[in-house]
């Protein structure tokens, strides 16, 4: 404990950080809550001296928007699809990377590259891979120049090409592209965390397993996964939180229309909804939506923690 006479020193040293946190984190949060409960709050009108009633109207409005339900559905679906798949893939890749000796560093770097690459740039590359070039903004009748790399590969193996993200594409195809992109983008961070976890597992457990002729699959499920469970829980919880905040990936692939040309906004997410509200100068509605998103993340995280308490060892 710091002696009480010295405490002012501690506060002094903490002051720069505290001041910044108060201005840029605490105050905005309080302000958001405040705005969410002021009916139809609008920044411009507020600056003009207008007053707003206190109430739940913002929340009611947000929930009643068709677009809101769509955004909620997209966000939830993407979370539920991508988090488990990317976590399992990351686990398998991390275990594989950990077990090889040659090229380990090179492969680690390759797997880590997406993490240091701008996600809009990655999105544009993905868009190019799935895009039907020549009809990017066009109509169905327009002549197609190339159906995109992915379709080329599908056709090479004798399949029929799919309209992934262009005019007239299906919701399932759109979701598939988004899921692939989000999973790929989420892998490096997870692999990094899990590799760190693997490195800290005592090698003797594996030697003991070897002495007892344990099959590889059983080593993974009965030794590696339980011993890695704290890291796995961390990866899954942060994965869900990041998933609920998904936004840039959609912009990266579909552009600001957040959907194929014939159905703009089809793939919009919660964060996208908040941005849209802000763009319409409806800070009240944006704040209410932000609070709802916060509530959802809180509930999901609590469920995650509750589950992991039962499943995580130590």
């Amino acid at each position: 404990m710091v002696e009480s006479k010295q405490q002012w020193k501690a506060w002094l040293y903490l002051a720069p950080a505290i001041v910044l946190l108060l201005i840029f984190t605490v105050w905005p949060i309080i302000n958001t809550i405040h705005m969410a409960f002021l009916e139809n709050y609008n920044g411009l009108k507020a600056a003009g001296g207008a007053t707003f009633n206190f109430g739940f109207a913002n929340f009611q409005k947000v929930v009643s928007y068709r677009r809101f339900t769509q955004c909620m559905q997209n966000t939830m679906l993407l979370c539920v699809i991508t988090v488990p798949i990317s976590s399992i893939l990351a686990l398998l890749i991390a275990v594989a990377l950990h077990s090889i000796k040659r090229f380990q560093k090179v492969l680690q770097t390759i797997f880590f590259l997406p993490y240091v690459t701008n996600s809009i740039a990655i999105g544009m590359v993905f868009a190019a891979m799935f895009n039907i070039v020549g009809s990017f903004l066009g109509m169905e009748s327009e002549i197609l120049v190339t159906p995109g790399i992915v379709n080329n590969i599908i056709e090479f193996f004798g399949g029929t090409k799919v309209n992934w993200i262009n005019y007239g594409s299906t919701y399932t195809a759109n979701l598939f592209v988004m899921a692939v992109y989000i999973i790929w983008n989420a892998l490096p961070f997870k692999i990094l965390i899990l590799l760190g976890g693997l490195a800290s597992i005592n090698k003797q457990y594996y030697e003991a397993a070897k002495v007892d002729s344990t099959p590889h699959w059983r080593v993974l499920t009965r030794i590696t996964v339980p011993l890695l469970s704290p890291m796995l829980a961390y990866v899954i919880i942060t994965g869900f939180i990041a998933g609920f905040k998904e936004y840039t990936s959609i912009v990266g692939i579909f552009g600001e229309s957040m959907g194929p040309a014939n159905d703009a906004g089809r793939l919009n997410t919660m964060v996208g909804f908040i941005y849209d509200s802000l763009a319409n100068n409806n800070q009240g509605r944006a704040s209410a939506a932000a609070l709802i998103l916060f509530g959802v993340i809180l509930v999901v995280t609590l469920i995650n923690l509750w589950v992991s308490k039962k499943r995580v060892h130590y």
Binding site: Q204, A208, V211, P215, R218, R222
Partner: protein, 367 residues
């Protein structure tokens, strides 16, 4: 199952790429471990004893030489297929599994015709737990056990699959002194009860001497001597073995042989006719001294330690290569510590002489 080690050698390549300094961890080890015996591999750290154990386990591959279990050449066989039980120095119990699950683990891996049904597995696990007396701890996690209990669980886990060979890596080093005494008796008992050929590694000579049927003394990868503990103690092959075995350790003096008489400093200790004149190193076991008013060896006494049945006399001698000379004599002797000299006669079979350069034993006949 007897274990045969044939010209077993392990060379670790140099870590530094520029120099090609290799480390020879085990050098040309030949030994046949008889069936059903308890063998102690003994030596200071870095002597290659653990490497030898890990080569027997298959976790490390020998650079050259062969290993046989019975008549089977297992040199190329991987660890999984050797049918060994191994107890690691820090036990390596799976922390997330209960004691029961830990002991069951090896059984659940059995495949094909060896596969057991659930009840047989539980019976076998319970049997192993009973052998090491941990039946009442089966539902605990390893973190809830004491070091000694963890040690027992590790032994149970190694024994439950009825291995052909049991290997123990420094099994007692993580235990406190009292538990160490108890556990080494346990290991002895379990080994006798199961009759499994057992090899264990230790740096503690007392531990090795007390429970082994045979000990192997190693130094820098080279086997120094193999034999029954008492034989090795009574008849060391060289100065290293003589110094390494025995507590309190052997007293070492610089001496010389002249005209058939062995001198320690100026004291003519003994007649040894068969040895040519030369400088030698003389080793005398602490129990080899006999208090004798007319004895040839004169030491300056500094301290007496009473140990109940025996008395340890601490003294100094100019020719001693150790800072102190320690003798153990019967407590009935009256010791006058204030006198200038304490004089000893020496029991001939407790005195060893060694070549000063090679440190090899020089055998002599006592008249």
């Amino acid at each position: 199952m007897k274990i045969v080690l044939q010209n077993l050698t392990k060379i670790f390549p140099s870590r530094n790429k520029k120099s090609d300094e290799e480390v020879v961890a085990v050098n040309n080890f030949n030994f046949e471990i008889p069936d059903g015996k308890l063998i102690g591999l003994l030596g200071p750290s870095g002597c290659g004893k653990s490497t030898t154990l890990y080569m027997i386990s298959g976790l490390q591959k020998p650079s050259s030489g062969k290993i046989f279990f019975g008549n089977d050449d297992v040199t190329e066989l991987s660890t999984e297929n050797r049918g060994i039980g191994l107890v690691f120095q820090n036990y390596a119990l799976y922390p997330h599994l209960t004691v029961k699950q830990n002991i069951l683990f090896p059984l659940q891996n059995l495949k094909g015709k060896d596969k057991l049904d659930k009840n047989t597995m539980l019976d076998r696990a319970y049997e192993a737990a009973k052998l090491v007396q941990i039946e009442q701890l089966l539902d605990r996690k390893p973190s809830e056990l004491s070091g000694g209990q963890q040690q027992r669980v590790a032994i149970a886990r190694a024994l439950v699959k009825m291995p052909r060979v049991l290997l123990l890596d420094e099994p007692l080093s993580n235990l406190d002194a009292r538990l160490r005494l108890q556990t080494r008796e346990e290991i002895r008992r379990i080994q006798k009860e199961t009759g499994i050929t057992t090899v264990f590694v230790t740096h503690d000579q007392e531990e090795a001497m007390s429970i082994s049927d045979m000990i192997v003394v190693m130094k820098t990868g080279v086997v120094q001597q193999i034999g029954k503990p008492q034989d090795v103690y009574d008849d060391p092959a060289n100065l290293f073995v003589a110094k390494f075995l025995g507590t309190p350790p052997i007293n070492v003096f610089s001496g010389h042989v002249k005209g058939g008489t062995l001198f320690i400093g100026g004291d003519a200790v003994m007649d040894i006719q068969t040895v040519a004149d030369q400088e030698v190193v003389v080793g005398i076991r602490p129990e080899g001294f006999v208090l004798d008013e007319n004895g040839p060896l004169k030491c300056k006494p500094s301290n007496v330690e009473v140990m109940g049945r025996d008395v340890s006399i601490v003294s100094t001698h100019d020719a001693s290569l150790n800072p102190l000379v320690r003798s153990i004599v019967n407590a009935d002797n009256k010791i006058n510590i204030s006198s200038e000299y304490v004089r000893y006669a020496v029991k001939p079979h407790k005195i060893f002489i060694f070549n000063k350069e090679t440190e090899e034993r020089i055998y002599f006949e006592v008249k």
